[in-house]
């Protein structure tokens, strides 16, 4: 299985051929005003893509991610998972499209985008979309945006942690799904930013 790392703006294309699997890791921690465009092309039967995206918005940075997952063949499968936090005055735009071409049957695709809004001055605009032209299909997406759950915070604080520690634990556990997929040098960068 090949692994592809993406962290710079510009256009990126990932082609996945018959019976191949790829893991794509996308990190957004810097100011990326020019959009980061990723095209995932599932070109061959039985091709498979796992995409993980971690984003941290801080200070006054802006981030734009535009991802397209193209199911161009039968029995293709893709899973996209994005998790991130928005702090300070950061801004982020996300568009994520799952496209199933006519004639590409028996595909399975899922896209999720979850944001923890930590600052009142941050702004996020996720647009997940679906374009489905086949009927033997499972395609769905989900997006959530919220702050840290007050009850979770209360539980941890009632066990003797102070607010800052409790918050840090909750943020880390929220991001954990994607952080564990990242290479260790990226992990260090993210952990440094969030604590």
């Amino acid at each position: 299985m090949k692994t592809i790392l993406i962290s710079k703006s510009g256009s990126h294309k990932v082609d996945i051929n018959k019976d191949e699997s790829a893991r794509v890791l996308i990190l957004q921690i810097k100011n990326l005003i020019k959009p980061l465009v990723v095209d995932i092309n599932l070109n061959g039967t039985n091709s498979n893509a796992d995409i993980f995206n971690c984003f941290v918005g801080h200070q006054d940075i802006a981030q734009n991610l535009d991802i397209k997952i193209n199911h161009n063949a039968h029995y293709t499968r893709a899973n996209f998972c994005a998790k991130g936090i928005m702090k300070d005055h950061s801004k982020a735009n996300f568009t994520g499209l799952i496209k199933v071409k006519r004639g590409s049957q028996n595909t399975d695709s899922f896209l999720e985008h979850r944001t923890l809004m930590l600052s009142d001055n941050a702004e996020i605009s996720p647009i997940p979309s679906l374009q489905i032209d086949a009927n033997e299909v499972r395609a769905s997406h989900a997006a959530t945006i919220s702050n840290i759950n007050e009850e979770d915070l209360f539980t941890l604080m009632s066990r003797g942690l102070n607010k800052l520690e409790a918050k840090n634990i909750l943020i880390k556990s929220f991001l954990n799904d994607v952080i564990i997929k990242l290479p260790s040098n990226w992990q260090m960068k993210v952990l440094k930013l969030i604590s």
Binding site: M86, R102, G103, Q105, T115, M117, L118, S119, D120, A122, E123, I124, S125, P126, I127, P128, S129, L130, Q131, I132, D133, A134, N135, E136, V137, R138, A139, S140, H141, A142, A143, T144, I145, S146, N147
Partner: protein
């Protein structure tokens, strides 16, 4: 199955009959200042409305055609008739309505439903309202239920206070067109604390070929009042395209409750481009129940702007796209005040090569603290020629709100089918049952008569594609 699937929906469309086109007055085709002035003159309007119309015409002509959504390039605006007056005077009793028009609405079941379960009924034929009646017990309470032209003349103060305040003439190209040539529609005013327990209804019918219907609806619910309005629409099947471009403006004052139900069942030659928007003040609830079954192309996104705290929006959207149809439906909610909540449930079915899309907006502004919103879009896709798209846009500008969105596209589950068949149902019945179950969150919100009708329509539309 492919063979039956090709049996077009046109054949099954039961409202496809047409009457002879004889009218009191028919405007020449095409649109120019002369036409707008003539419409205004026919309505014996004062300068106030004439000025609004002419200004809107100018902005209409200057605005570009929208490039997103469905294909609008095939509408021939010069061949449309923008105004048809079917009769000289509107009927107050059902007997005053001309016979052929009366027969049409009899076939559509309009007077029967009034007797059975409605508080008031209106009927619009081409550009003008032909019948409007509100039961006395409700008019005694101060409720105004009129066609919009009459309301403009009888209640100019209320009318001028609200007209164009929710959807301005420059809002979009088709709102401008509507403002320039609007005719007919419903005007409802519910006074303070009056609760309407039974619904009001207006029925819209296009009969002529290449006709443009531009009704304008204005609903105002004063503090603590409630109202439920239902509209239905049909047109004859025809090879020439017609256009329906309505504007609906709703103002829900403090703690009021408005429910607006649409069962849109235009024939397959109608472009349905409608702007529907509501403003919800403090504590008000606005519900849109939007059923899109017919038309060639529908582009309609009912919107609620929540400007007062604790306002609530509830939008149920249902779209069924069959052969040759493009249902570009959706919903918009904009949270502008704290503690506002909204729920959008959208369900769509694509069959026989039809295309359905959900296009929506969810915005939570900076001052809308502690707001909550949930958007759920589910789509069923029944054969390999059909398409289903989802484009939900979210814009979140504070950190004290909760937003959830999910969307799924799938076909009827093999396991569900197998299960039902193992209980002795045949494949067709199992399919119908699953489709009905899929739509039930919306159908169970409709008055019973409508729910039955809708179920039947969907079965007709789905015929040959499920099973």
């Amino acid at each position: 199955m492919a063979k039956t699937a090709r049996r077009t929906f046109l054949k099954d469309y039961q409202f496809g009959f047409a009457n002879e086109e004889k009218y009191f007055y028919r405007e020449e085709t095409g649109l120019n200042t002369g036409v707008v002035k003539s419409i205004s003159a026919h309505k014996k309007e004062n300068n106030y409305m004439k000025k609004i119309r002419l200004a809107a015409l100018e902005s209409y002509q200057n605005m570009p055609m929208p490039k997103w959504g469905g294909d609008l390039s095939k509408i021939d605006f010069d061949k449309l008739t923008y105004y048809i007056k079917p009769q000289k005077e509107k009927g107050r009793t059902w007997n005053e309505v001309p016979k052929d028009i009366k027969d049409t609405f009899d076939k559509l079941g309009v007077p029967q439903s009034e007797k059975r379960f409605l508080a008031g009924v209106g009927a619009q034929y081409e550009s003008e309202s032909v019948y409007h009646n509100l039961k006395k017990e409700w008019s005694d309470k101060g409720i105004i239920f009129e066609d919009t032209d009459t309301a403009f003349k009888k209640y100019p103060d209320i009318f001028k206070k609200y007209f164009g305040t929710v959807v301005s003439a420059t809002d979009n190209k088709f709102a401008a067109l509507n403002t320039a040539v609007w005719s007919g529609g419903t005007f409802i005013y519910v006074p303070k604390s009056v609760k309407m327990t039974i619904p009001l209804q207006n029925y819209f019918r296009i009969n002529a070929k290449s006709m443009g219907q531009f009704e304008r609806t204005l609903i105002i619910a004063e503090e603590g009042s409630s109202v439920h309005y239902i509209e239905g629409c049909t047109a004859p099947t025809n090879s020439l395209d017609s256009l329906h471009a309505a504007v609906v403006e709703i103002i829900a004052h403090k703690n009021s409750h408005i429910r607006y139900t649409t069962i849109q069942n235009w024939s397959n030659n109608v472009y349905n481009l409608v702007t529907k928007r509501a403003i919800a003040h403090e504590g008000a609830t606005v519900e849109w129940i939007d059923g899109n079954l017919g038309s060639k192309l529908t582009m309609k996104y009912p919107a609620v702007y929540m400007v007062g705290k604790n306002a609530h929006a509830d939008i149920l959207s249902l779209a069924v796209a069959s052969a040759g149809q493009d249902q570009d439906a959706g919903a918009k909610v904009v949270h502008l005040a704290p503690h506002t909540t909204s729920v959008i449930t959208a369900k769509s079915i694509s069959a026989n090569g039809g295309k359905s899309s959900y296009r929506g907006l969810l915005q939570i502004a900076k001052r809308a603290k502690q707001s909550k919103s949930k958007v759920v879009c589910d789509a069923l896709i029944l054969d390999d020629q059909s398409s289903s798209d989802t484009y939900p846009t979210m814009k979140i500008q504070n950190n004290q709100s909760q937003v959830e969105h999910e969307a799924t596209v799938s076909k009827i589950g093999e396991e569900q089918l197998f299960y039902l068949q193992s209980r002795g149902l045949n494949e067709n019945d199992s399919n119908s049952l699953i489709v009905n179950g899929f739509l039930s969150p919306i159908i169970k919100q409709l008055p019973m008569e409508y729910a039955i009708e809708l179920n039947r329509l969907i079965e007709l539309q789905m015929e040959g594609s499920v099973g």
